[in-house]
């Protein structure tokens, strides 16, 4: 009996690989297992190899697994491309139709007549069910676990369809049972805790967070891997009276968001690298006009169109430094799907509180990766609109215009919105006086620059760094950002077991950096290893810029389009020490 297991299904794009994985995962989620999924797909629509890898554990485990226990193959290419990952003793379940060849020693090949069984049952599409049945037999899962899901999917097509699908599952299971004489002990899953959890992607969590934060309008332009944020809101916003506009491009998306935010509504846009690049000019506008603006950037393989369906973390520089000129800006990066929800809510509060652009950085692995998360907590949703004057609090106009850019102690000026009688003022991307009217006066200019740039210096946010600190003085401090959190944690715990004194810090607030916290941790470590999914070590550079401990900072980089496996981090760190 095992507490964790790694399963992968693969085949041609358009063949239902995704939904096979989904059904498998949903069933296990409802049984209370923890899941961590990663989809591999190509930048084409039909055809081309695709696969879906799911790690199943009885305890929470936030990373993709190093190796593979079971590979379900719908074609030989799947075996050829993925069998390398299989552990010794792993199992391939393949459609007997294509006469599968294992291509690797020490693995067991189960050739199961997916196609034949489903054809006999009258619908070749059901071969996915046969494969799932075969899988459950190996794991010792009852095929009844799938019943509810199959009903949800097919009951509207009639009881007969449900029955046929159940039959396909059953025959798949029976076929394997016959071959293996019941579940394989080293694959039989220990029972799960049965608790309710959510199985969702990072993109969905972000979109859900946006709705919870009060977003009712979203202008956006589709782009992989961010489109799903927009697509979720397209489906859900009408229920809350809101809507999404698919704009003509990203420049329209971001400027429309600026307009709506200026208009008083919480709004956001989402994009990936190329779109972020196009938004740079407008981000500067939000900065100088002190308009709250939330942009979600789901990073993908760059540069340019790069590797649009692959993972990378290479937009840190662009997010922090990309605009021309100098503006206040906040950049945060959730480190898990759960965080993606709460951090998105937080992003809106930060944008309103500091009246500036906030960029939420995720990446393809987090955005499109689907995982189980603990039920999201309604009571943790807090909406803080910052210094926002309602009609009652707004005194009568003294001069001709309201001082939207009043110099205040904390640099933040009370905000009003169009429609308020005593709030009439001007807003401009040109340097301006307190009323918002253009001004070239050098003294005013200097004050305005300082007002804007300094207002975020004292930014307060809960847990700007997620710290796993087991040692006061550590041999190694491992630093990462975003989706690498789980894989690093796993590597760190293995290194601890090896006897290393190792701390982990995962930065959530990337800009402005939580200096005090990081500095102390870094100072007390002998070596700092920065793990990032890019080719130039952008976070390491950022740390060097801020802390100057160049000699102790080492980079562990990966930039081949794939996220880190825990073992790669483990090996990488060992190689650096």
């Amino acid at each position: 009996m095992v507490n964790q297991l790694s399963w992968k299904v693969g085949g041609q794009q358009g063949e239902g690989i995704d939904s096979t994985g989904e059904i498998f995962a949903t069933a296990l989620n409802r049984l209370g297992y923890h899941l961590f999924g990663y989809r591999h797909f190509s930048s084409r629509i039909k055809g081309g190899h695709t696969n879906y890898k799911i790690r199943v554990t009885t305890k929470s485990m936030k990373a993709i697994s190093d190796n593979l226990d079971i590979l379900v193959a719908f074609d030989q290419e799947t075996i050829d491309l993925n069998s390398g990952e299989l552990r010794d003793g792993g199992v391939i379940i393949a459609d007997s139709k294509f006469k599968p060849v294992a291509n690797k020693d020490n693995v067991r090949l189960l050739s199961v007549p997916f196609t034949e069984i489903s054809r006999n049952l009258g619908n070749i599409l059901m071969k996915n069910m046969v494969a799932l049945g075969a899988t459950s037999a190996l794991l010792g899962l009852s095929i009844e676990s799938f019943k509810e899901i199959i009903e949800e999917m097919f009951l509207r097509k009639g009881q007969e369809v449900v029955d046929k699908n159940m039959e396909a599952l059953k025959q798949g299971a029976e076929y394997v049972n016959k071959e293996t004489n019941g579940p394989l002990e080293e694959l039989r899953l220990a029972e799960a805790d049965g608790k309710k959890r959510l199985f969702m992607t990072g993109n969905e969590a972000v979109a859900l967070g946006a709705i919870a934060a009060g977003v009712r309008f979203m202008p956006a332009y589709p782009i992989t891997p961010a489109s799903e944020v927009m697509e979720y809101l397209i489906k859900k916003l009408p229920k809350f009276g809101g809507t999404v506009i698919q704009t003509e491009d990203e420049i329209a998306a971001v400027t429309m968001a600026i307009g709506a935010s200026y208009g008083g509504v919480r709004t956001m846009t989402s994009t990936s690298g190329p779109g972020l690049a196009l938004m740079q000019e407008a981000i500067g506008l939000a900065g100088i006009t002190e308009t709250p603006l939330v942009i979600v950037d789901v990073q993908r393989g760059g540069p340019s169109t790069g590797l649009p369906t692959k993972n990378e973390q290479s937009d840190f520089n662009a997010a922090i430094f990309g605009t021309h000129g100098e503006i206040p800006k906040i950049v945060i990066a959730p480190n898990s799907i759960e965080d993606a929800f709460y951090d998105t809510v937080e992003a809106f509060n930060l944008a309103d509180r500091y009246q500036c652009p906030v960029i939420v950085l995720t990446d393809l692995a987090l955005g499109m990766g689907k995982q189980t998360v603990e039920p999201l907590d309604y009571d943790k949703i807090e909406i803080d609109r910052g210094k926002y004057l309602g009609d009652q609090e707004l005194p009568e106009l003294e001069g001709e215009l309201y001082k939207r850019y009043l110099f205040t102690e904390d640099g933040i000026s009370p905000r009003v919105i169009p429609g308020q009688k005593n709030g009439i003022h001007h807003v401009t991307g040109v340097e301006h006086a307190e009323t918002g009217l253009p001004s070239e006066n050098p003294v005013n200019r200097k004050k305005m620059m300082e007002k804007r740039l300094n207002k975020i210096n004292n930014i307060k946010i809960n847990n700007p760094v997620i710290i796993n600190k087991s040692h006061d003085e550590a041999e190694i401090l491992v630093i990462g950002i975003g989706s690498t959190h789980g894989a690093i944690a796993e590597a760190v715990s293995r290194l601890e077991k090896d006897g290393y004194k190792i701390n982990q810090a995962h930065i959530r607030l990337i800009h402005p950096l939580p200096k005090d916290q990081l500095k102390e941790l870094m100072e007390k470590a002998k070596k700092v290893i920065v793990v990032e999914n890019n080719g130039t070590g952008q976070i390491a550079n950022l740390l060097n810029m801020n802390f100057g401990m160049i000699d102790k900072v080492k980079s562990l980089l990966k930039y081949d389009g794939n996220p880190f496996l825990p073992s790669e981090i483990y090996d990488g760190i060992r190689g650096l020490i």
């Binding site: 959510l198 709705i211 202008p219 506009i245 400027t255 407008a282 909406i383 401009t428």
Partner: protein, 288 residues
């Protein structure tokens, strides 16, 4: 009720004396007063250019944005708050060079805003380069030997992009211009208004007189029927775009906001932004 004066602000525009933009400013202020708007319920979003300064000269909410992006910002403002009267304004370069994409799409999207192009056939602020509306052969700072590109025909383009309200005014005819802007604001949907607004500093060719001599005032053409798209295009082609008046109008066309599923009359900004525990739980259920 507010008057023309309520839309004025005590600032001397930094436009050259004689610039056509003064008329556009006055026409907007008058039109707003005529319609009976209150300054706080109007938002003027402008681009960058001499023209773009206009938002700072009107007493209303004003957003002087970046070059070419007045329209998406204006659309955002309107989506946030349907109760506002939203005007966008900018130069011919703003709307038909860098901003063309937004112009075409704002037109076809048809959100209820009014867009005034202050068309001087030149780049004023950057000191006299050619604009996409400069005439073929026009000698400008960037085409010292004469422009070799066909100018954009804004009215034809607007009609072909599906505009429900297309008009053209002239800074030299304040009364008509005011009326056009009034009608534009009243039109429920996107209103496209091109205004010949001479630049006396850099365009020595398309002067007030040049326009006066050529412009055909459609208001004076009793036979012209501005409800017919095909005829409208013909008319514009016939007079080589040099017409003023309302060229095309389709009062039936629904504005975008009215077509959005479940979009309420109450502005988004006034609605409750929290979601209920029940709704939240409902949303989560899908992921179980």
């Amino acid at each position: 009720m507010s008057t023309f004066k309520d839309f004025r602000i005590d600032i001397k525009p930094n436009w050259c004396p004689g610039c056509g933009d003064y008329s556009v400013l006055t026409a907007i202020q008058k039109a707003a007063a005529n319609i009976g708007l209150e300054p706080e319920n109007m938002a003027v979003v402008s681009g960058i250019g001499c023209s773009g300064r206009i938002s700072g000269y009107i007493k209303s909410y004003g957003f002087h944005s970046i070059h070419g992006r007045a329209l998406p910002i204006a659309q955002g403002v309107k989506m946030a708050n349907r109760d506002l009267t939203v005007l966008a304004a900018g130069g011919d370069g703003d709307g038909f060079a860098i901003g063309t994409n937004h112009t075409i799409h704002a037109i076809r999207r048809n959100i209820d805003i009014t867009y005034v192009v202050m068309d001087n056939h030149i780049y004023g602020l950057t000191k006299g380069q050619t604009s996409p509306l400069s005439s073929f052969g026009a000698k400008t700072k960037s085409t010292p030997l004469g422009s070799i590109e066909q100018p954009i025909r804004p009215l034809e383009l607007a009609i072909s992009a599906g505009a429900g309200f297309v008009a053209q005014g002239f800074a030299g005819n304040l009364a008509q211009l005011t009326k056009i802007i009034e009608e534009g604001i009243k039109h429920k949907g996107f209103s496209f208004i091109n205004v010949f607004s001479p630049c006396i500093a850099f365009n020595k060719f398309n002067t007030y007189d040049w326009f006066k001599e050529r412009i055909v005032n459609l208001d004076e053409d009793q036979n012209f029927d501005n409800s017919n798209r095909v005829l409208a295009v013909q008319k514009v082609m016939e007079h080589d775009s040099l017409v003023t008046g309302i060229v095309y109008r389709d009062p039936e066309r629904e504005s975008y906001e009215n077509l959005v599923p479940n979009f309420k009359q109450e502005p988004l900004v006034k609605q409750n932004m929290s979601i209920s525990r029940e709704d939240f739980t409902d949303l989560l259920r899908e992921f179980e």
